[in-house]
């Protein structure tokens, strides 16, 4: 793993955040099972980012429904439009996240490696953004 990434994860973990400690192990994983870690982490990050920016209570809205990535992405821009669109793709109804968690996607997928890199980069971007916002 790139030393810059390790340093950044170290920095992230040294701060007290709502996200919890980010686990190095999954950054090294190259199999599709790593996505079972990254999709929830991405969702936790993006919900906490919106919570920081709009100050609503995390986890539930006024009707006490659970806030999910999908509901948040419909009403908010996360980091910037490019990132938001990437996230929308992942968390969309027929996106890879749903395909994985409600089926058997990626088991023998040749695009896995590219997707995994994309997900890891997005995660880093959201971590970075979250850290910046939380320090304000």
């Amino acid at each position: 793993m790139n030393s810059k990434v390790i340093n950044f994860i170290n920095e992230f973990n040294s701060e007290s955040t709502n996200i919890g400690e980010v686990d190095y192990y999954f950054w090294l994983m190259k199999s599709y099972e790593a996505l079972y870690y990254f999709y929830p982490l991405l969702e936790r990050l993006l919900i906490n980012i919106v919570a920081l920016e709009s100050r609503w209570t995390i986890e539930v809205d006024s009707q006490r429904r659970l806030k999910t990535a999908n509901s948040v992405l419909n009403d908010n821009i996360i980091v910037n439009e490019k990132v938001t669109n990437k996230l929308k793709k992942i968390f969309g109804e027929n996106g890879p996240r749903n395909l994985l968690l409600h089926g058997n996607a990626f088991k023998n997928d040749e695009n896995l490696s590219r997707h995994l890199i994309e997900v890891k980069c997005l995660t880093l971007e959201l971590m970075h953004h979250y850290l910046r916002e939380s320090r304000h």
Partner: protein, 502 residues
């Protein structure tokens, strides 16, 4: 004694039952404000009626009748209703099972129906209550080892002390079961972190001999647990736990020294409040009885007697003279399979179930005995998972939240595959489970367990919590794995039934 004016009931129940029903009904109509009396009489009479009430399935109607009567009252808290519905969910196929649920209900009242408990203490000290009824109520609860009321009884003559507690604590902490948020908000707004710790210390110091103090602390813990704030308040809770240990220490020594297994129920008081136990309860309050019931195995005869006592008392199994732990686990496994289906289950599944029991106990022991050196356990668990589920996962992954989510996902796929063989229509997992139940591939209990533990769409289930990133943990919570394993084994049994049917 008046009769119930409902022809449907009269058609179904026997005269003896009807008499009992009428007796209870009298209490329903006698005082609509005292549901705790009503409910406790219901439980008491169920027990008193014993076999007559339990022996045939028609009595399910009878039991549901009581429950619906309680539920129809507007002043019953939502949580309480939910628990009662859960109670009514199960078929009264055997006494011990119902007995366990009744006990659970009593514990539930004591732990959750603060209003009821607080009122009761008031009743004892302040009001000129119907002393016969009260005595019976207390006796019933004392018989069932429900701590708070036992202590309340012990202290019932010390009016001023209870009054002080009531004044000082219940005034602030007095909450309804469906309004726990209020208490937590109070704690957050009025007591800063440092003060909170001091305050709890004060509570415990208030009178270290009086267990009521620890009962109040227990209440705080339960509230925090319910609000899922445990992690944030870990420091406070650890202090509370320490204090509880201190409070219990003398009593525990007194109880355990030179006493035989006959004192199990008393010992339970000591062990059930251990911090590790609280941690367990936080993780799986609802599943606790199941957990320990399935955790009795021969291999762990060396487990300290207090642990076994707790296990035994919670699983309603007498491990006194003549019954070895080995018998008990054997019987538990056999009974489970006899009750779970009318068809013969492959011995392979019985053996697998027993090995899952072993695993459950190992997990349970690991969760409860922090100082025990059982380093090899993790590897054993991973081997078992890989064998049972025919996959190859490494230890780190298995014990991560990602591993837990992966296993749940695989379980979901497995369930959907079983369903594909009986139906062409694609459905959500809940409806698939309902279908499997309606086709008798899952019993009511099994359906309930699988759905409630993992898939129940109330927003707080294990799958959703993991999948949506509400729970992130480095090292998985063992109890989650236990739940997932158990669901796996149930689904394997479900598969077996489907195969036999085909």
């Amino acid at each position: 004694m008046k009769r119930i004016p409902n022809p449907l009931i009269e058609d179904i129940v026997s005269d003896v039952d009807l008499m009992i029903l009428s007796y209870i009904n009298e209490y329903f109509s006698r005082d609509t404000h005292n549901r705790e009396f009503v409910f406790c009489y219901f439980l008491k009479l169920l027990r008193k009626a014993g076999v007559d009430l339990y022996n045939d399935l028609e009595n399910k109607f009878l039991i549901n009748f009581f429950i619906s009567n309680i539920l129809s009252r507007s002043n019953v808290g939502e949580e309480f209703k939910k628990e009662l519905r859960r109670l009514s969910y199960f078929e009264p196929q055997n006494i011990s099972k119902y007995d366990t649920y009744c006990r659970e209900m009593l514990v539930y009242i004591v732990e959750n129906e603060y209003e009821v408990c607080a009122n009761l203490i008031y009743e004892i000290t302040k009001k000129n209550y119907d002393s016969d009824l009260l005595e019976e109520y207390l006796t019933l609860l004392v018989d069932d080892d429900c701590g708070i009321l036992q202590y309340a009884k012990i202290d019932k003559n010390i009016k001023s002390r209870i009054d002080e507690y009531v004044e000082e604590f219940f005034q602030h902490l007095y909450i309804k079961s469906d309004d726990l948020v209020e208490l937590y908000t109070y704690l957050q707004e009025h007591i800063q972190q440092d003060d909170k710790i001091n305050r709890i210390n004060e509570v415990c110091k208030y009178d270290s001999d009086n267990v009521l103090a620890s009962v109040i602390v227990d209440k705080i813990i339960i509230v925090l647990i319910k609000l899922k704030q445990f992690e944030e308040d870990e420091v406070v809770l650890l202090l509370i736990c320490k204090k509880i240990e201190e409070l219990k220490h003398n009593r525990a020594q007194e109880i355990t020294s030179g006493k035989s297994l006959d004192k199990m129920s008393s010992i339970r008081h000591e062990v059930e409040i251990r911090p590790e136990f609280i941690e367990l309860a936080k993780e799986a309050t609802v599943d606790l009885v199941n957990l320990v019931h399935m955790s009795l195995i021969p291999k762990y005869k060396e487990v300290p007697i207090s642990q076994l006592s707790m296990i035994a008392s919670y699983s309603s199994i007498d491990i006194g003279t003549g019954l070895t732990i080995e018998n008990v686990i054997d019987n538990a496994a056999k009974t489970y399979f006899e009750n779970s289906s009318s068809i013969t289950i492959n011995l392979h599944y019985l053996e697998m179930y027993k090995s899952m029991c072993q695993l459950a106990l190992q997990i349970f022991i690991k969760s409860t005995m922090i100082n025990n050196d059982i380093d090899k356990l993790d590897g054993m668990i991973v081997d078992c998972i890989n064998d049972c589920m025919n996959i190859k996962l490494n230890e780190y992954f298995v014990f991560s939240m990602a591993g837990c989510l992966f296993l749940i996902n695989q379980l979901e796929n497995k369930i959907l595959r079983i369903h594909e063989t009986i139906s062409d229509t694609k459905k959500e997992i809940f409806y698939v489970l309902v279908d499997l139940k309606e086709n008798n591939y899952l019993t009511d209990d099994e359906f309930f367990y699988i759905n409630y533990t993992i898939f129940d769409e109330n927003g707080l289930n294990l799958r959703n919590n993991l999948a949506h990133g509400n729970v992130m943990f480095q090292k998985g919570k063992l109890i989650h794995f236990y739940s997932v394993f158990l669901c796996w084994i149930l689904i394997m049994v479900c598969e077996e039934r489907r195969d036999l049917n085909e």
